[in-house]
Amino acid sequence: MILHIVNKSPFQSDCLNSCLRIISPEDALLLIEDGVYAALDTPRGLASLAPAIPVYALEADCRARGILDQLHASVKPTDDHGFVELTLAYAKSQSWF
């Protein structure tokens, strides 16, 4: 239904929490820019997210930050092509910034 895009670190901003108040299992979450820090296995990250929701993280942003091999097991890395595919697969996008 909705692709939620978060670009802020959960340690710096409440964006992820705002997103989580809206998100539902028919949606997906894409982490980009500093948002990828939410993909780390920390209490501020995805621990609070229902496992039913697919979570993606932009691979280049993870690689740039040196965290690609530290992502929470439920997170699927994706590239720019995957980003575009996701925007097509979901009816609409909501950016949380």
Partner: protein, 122 residues
Amino acid sequence: MQEADKSLLVVVRHGPYQGQLAREALDAVLTAAAFEQPVSLLFMDDGVFQLTPNQDGSAIDAKNLATMLAVLPMYDVDRVYVELDSLNLRAISPESLTLPATPVGGHALRDLFVNNAHLLSF
């Protein structure tokens, strides 16, 4: 939701004087209204500070945003919503707001995102 559904939800999540976001959100809403497109406006997170009384933008050489938002009813923009949790967290009472806004939370909040065909974030 059908192909021709042009309904728009404008999501406002930033304070009134943080860059140009608040002005741009208002421009988007007024443009949609001018073309008679169905537009809803949701204030959440720091966006609720846009609706608090006694703002004086002149103190920082900015236009008074609350005054600008007051034109919305004249453009028949009457679907204005405010997230209840965001108000509560900031100790703002719904009665004090400068625009008539419907407090929403839970399923009603989610439904705004689901039932509008297009989402714009500011």
